[in-house]
Symmetry: C2
Subunit: 286 residues, 2 copies
Amino acid sequence: MSHGAPSLLDRLSLNQETLRQWSLPELADGCARAGVRGVGLWRAPVQQYGVAAAARLIRDAGLRVSSLCRGGFFTALEPGERAAALDDNRAALDEAAALGTDTLVLVSGGLPPGSRDLAGARERIADALGELAPYAAERGVRLALEPLHPMYAADRCVVSTLAQALDLAERFPADRVGVVVDTYHLWWDDTVGAQIGRAGGTGGAAGSRIAAFQLADWVTPLPEGVLLGRGQLGDGSVDLRWFRERVEAAGYRGPVEVEIFNPALWARDGAEVLAEVVRRVRTHVG
Amino acid sequence: MSHGAPSLLDRLSLNQETLRQWSLPELADGCARAGVRGVGLWRAPVQQYGVAAAARLIRDAGLRVSSLCRGGFFTALEPGERAAALDDNRAALDEAAALGTDTLVLVSGGLPPGSRDLAGARERIADALGELAPYAAERGVRLALEPLHPMYAADRCVVSTLAQALDLAERFPADRVGVVVDTYHLWWDDTVGAQIGRAGGTGGAAGSRIAAFQLADWVTPLPEGVLLGRGQLGDGSVDLRWFRERVEAAGYRGPVEVEIFNPALWARDGAEVLAEVVRRVRTHVG
């Protein structure tokens, strides 16, 4: 066994939506067979399987849960909706803790119907983080704010750049609120390298805001609705290796999670796709 | 006749792609009847009609050409392709001068096939601007660099923010290279207000980089290919009035051009759509 830094394959995590064709037991078994040590999970399939049973299944397969997707959707104006969102996020934090992950990914939410007030929506996100941070800390889970590509700003996430995510996260201690660096969302931004450095902070890994590092490639044309058009690693425009080098230079040593939403991958044999992902990681990321 | 500032309706310009169902003569006649004094033209329909004939048609209808769309596509790596792009842009500048507009809108181009080098592509845009600026100045035409929404970064335009466009434009005199402020492309960016101020410069209108101001609203879901999903003014998420106030505070007094690509508008009667545009401008912009 090596005493050096863990290899890229040791750090690799497969977000389960990359292989939506697999049930949770198939995912656990398939990852273990492929030597992939981590999985990123989603709340709906975990709830369907049962949270405690899912936690046991993953643990028994020798896997770690790198992150749980997702909380968030904090931008409602209506008090009842806001309260329901906070309750749902507390449940998500409970689930994250039960699964043994320290990271809950947050998709912040878009503009409420009829609203054009981006600044107001962003402020409501800060309010929600303030309400949830103590609850998260008690469970040992960090809130991981994910900037989504600007094409989702209206209907999904008004936090569109790493700078905006850090502006929000930095109002809180680094061990309570971090950010997600997802190549699909951030690749186009010429300030992202500097912002990754900012996220790393001056205190090394301990003070880093980088709670998760997710990989997908950017391919065109985008499909209707622009949700399910992410590219297999190496098929698109993103310099994935550059991103890995930047987050590592910023002190990040955590999971490298592959999260690709693409019906063409879901139509194929899961084990074959996973083997391809591992090869692509070696070629384009390592 | 008022001696005050021109009214918003006096400054209104209709980009012809908003009413693709209209021929050039229908456009000239329809705008004149509706009291719309300006049109933004596209090269292909103008070339099809004949540049000199189009110029005469527009002039005889008492209209101004606010801008010509479009030059650009500067990012090719292959020398022959680069030379062809520059030649084509010189032809576009000739056409702009013949049409009597001082503004050629530039869509810079995406990544060449297989390339992931955004910084290199942006540098080739600067090179092309340097080659074209003297030719443009001789014709009294300003090169108007348009930042496009980040969802077009791979295949259409690697200049994704107003800050990036200004970084490029500021390498040249303000009367030679300006920028386009298009609400559809820039609305999501929390730095755009500050960047509009930067574009205005300290010298008032004379030193302003704002070469054109274009309006469209952001509506979802986006269609496949994300090109033809722009919203009628007021139907979406963009605070259009805020943008007008910002560009005016930055000293801009030029045309207010409506550029909406939307098949639902093209399927309707042109005069009815134009009347709706005018009403929407009064309600949501003025």
